[in-house]
Symmetry: C2
Subunit: 220 residues, 2 copies
DNA sequence: GTATACGGTTCTACATGTAAAATGTAATAG
DNA sequence: CTATTACATTTTACATGTAGAACCGTATAC
C-alpha cells in the first residue's frame, strides 16, 4: 500500500493558531501588541514549540509581523495599507467573477441565490451582525466561483487581513482624524458661536468615517 | 529609546530556507520528494529546530505541501496547476501595470527602458540564459510599478511557484504526452513506413512542448 | 534635564529529549 | 503469490534545556 489518505489527529499547533487568529480578529489581541511566546505558552497551557510555530504561521498569513530577534507583533494597518489590500482584493475578486461566469455550476448559482435571499431578510430587519456574516459568505462564494484553488487561497489570505486592517483604520480614522484636524475645527466654530458651521464639520467628519467604513459593511 | 531599527544577525533558519528553496527551484530536490527533517538536519549540520521551521515556511510559500503527521513533500504541479497559477498571476500583473501607469516614477520607467535595451542585445546574440534573467527582472519591475507592497508580495509568492510548476509540467508534458499518445502515433507511422507522417507527428509534438514552455521563456 | 553605562531579567533562536504515530520488514495465513 | 499481523525502526509533534541578544530599571556623567 502507498496511500493512507485518511488520518485526522488534531494537532496542538492548529488549535493554538486558531485561537490566536480569533483573538486577533476579535481585537482581544490589539494591533501592535507583542505575541510573547512564553506568556502565550503559559496562558494556553502548552509548551513553547507549538506556540512559536503558530505565531510564525500567522506571520505568513500577514496577520502579524516579525522583527528578527525582537519578537512578533500583531499587524498594524493604516489607511494606506487598507487601500493597498483592497486594490489586490479587487483585482483578484474581479478576475474570479469573470472566470467564474463561465465555470459556475448550477449549485454555485443556487447557493448564491439562497444567500442573497437570506441577506434581503437581514436588511429588512436591520440585522447588522447577520448581514456581515452573510456578506462574508457571499464574497467567499464569489471567490470560489473561479474553481481555481490558487485564486481562492490568495483571496482567502487577503480576507482576514482586510478585516483586521479595516478595524485598525476605523480606529485610526476615528481617533487620529477626529482627534486632530476636525476637533480643532469644531472647537474653532464653537468658539465663534457658529453652531451651523460646527454641525457641518461634524457631519463631514461622520461622512468620512462612513465612506471608509462603508466598504466594511457593503464591499465586505 | 524605543526603536533600534538596525540589527542584522543572520539567523540559521533564513540560511536553511534559502538553501532549501534554491535546491527545490534548481530541481536538486525533486517534486514529490520528502523533506525529511532529521536527514536535512544532518546534511546541513544544524539542529532540527531551524530545519523544521524553514520547511514550514516553504509550505507557506507554496513550494511544499504538508501531510500532517506524515511529513512535508516538495510540491508537485500538473498542467492544471500551471493554468491556475497563471490565471492569478495574470490578474495581479495586469492590475499592477494598470495602476502603475498612473504611479510610475521617472526612475521606474528609466529602469524598464534600460532593461529592455539589455534584453534586445541578448535576443540578438541568442543568450537564452541571460534573457531569462532579464525577463524575470522585467516582470519583477512590472509588479512593483503599482507601488503597492501587498501586490508585490502576492506576485512574488506566485513567481517561485510558477518556476517550479513550469518545470514540473514541462516534465509532465515531455514524459506523459510524449510517452504515450504521440509515441504511439510515431511508432504507427514508422511501421507503415510513412516517414512524412512520423515527422509531422514529431513536429506537432515539439510544437506543443514549445507552446507550453513558451510562457516560461517569454511570459516568464 | 538628556545621555550613557551597568546589571539583572526575560526572551529569542537554536539544541536536544521523548511519547506516540507512521513506516518498514519479516513472519505467517490464506 | 497476495494479504495480514507482529515487531523493530524511524519520524513527527511537542516538551524542555540553554547561550547570547534584547530589554528594563537604576545609577552615573554630562
Amino acid at each position: 500500500m502507498e496511500l493512507n489518505l485518511i488520518q485526522n489527529q488534531t494537532r496542538v499547533v492548529d488549535t493554538v493558531r486558531g485561537a490566536l487568529r480569533d483573538a486577533i480578529l476579535e481585537g482581544r489581541l490589539a494591533p501592535g501588541q507583542k505575541l510573547s511566546v512564553p506568556e502565550l505558552s503559559r496562558q494556553l497551557g502548552v509548551s513553547r514549540s507549538p506556540v512559536r510555530e503558530a505565531i510564525l504561521q500567522l506571520v505568513a498569513e500577514g496577520l502579524a509581523v516579525e522583527l528578527p530577534r525582537r519578537g512578533v507583533l500583531v499587524a498594524e494597518f493604516g489607511l494606506q495599507d487598507v487601500a493597498h489590500i483592497f486594490e489586490v482584493r479587487e483585482a483578484l475578486e474581479v478576475a474570479s467573477v469573470r472566470l467564474g461566469a463561465g465555470r459556475a455550476t448550477r449549485d454555485d448559482l443556487e447557493a448564491l441565490r439562497k444567500l442573497l435571499e437570506e441577506q434581503a431578510l437581514q436588511v429588512k430587519r436591520n440585522d447588522l451582525e447577520g448581514y456581515q456574516q452573510t456578506d462574508l459568505h457571499f464574497h467567499k462564494l464569489l471567490g470560489s466561483l473561479s474553481h481555481n484553488p490558487v485564486m481562492e487561497r490568495h483571496i482567502g489570505l487577503l480576507k482576514d487581513q482586510s478585516r483586521l486592517a479595516l478595524e485598525n483604520s476605523a480606529r485610526s480614522i476615528a481617533q487620529l482624524e477626529r482627534g486632530h484636524a476636525e476637533h480643532v475645527e469644531i472647537l474653532a466654530a464653537l468658539k465663534a458661536r457658529d453652531g451651523e458651521r460646527a454641525a457641518e464639520v461634524l457631519l463631514r467628519h461622520f461622512e468620512r468615517i462612513r465612506a471608509s467604513l462603508g466598504d466594511w459593511l457593503s464591499g465586505r
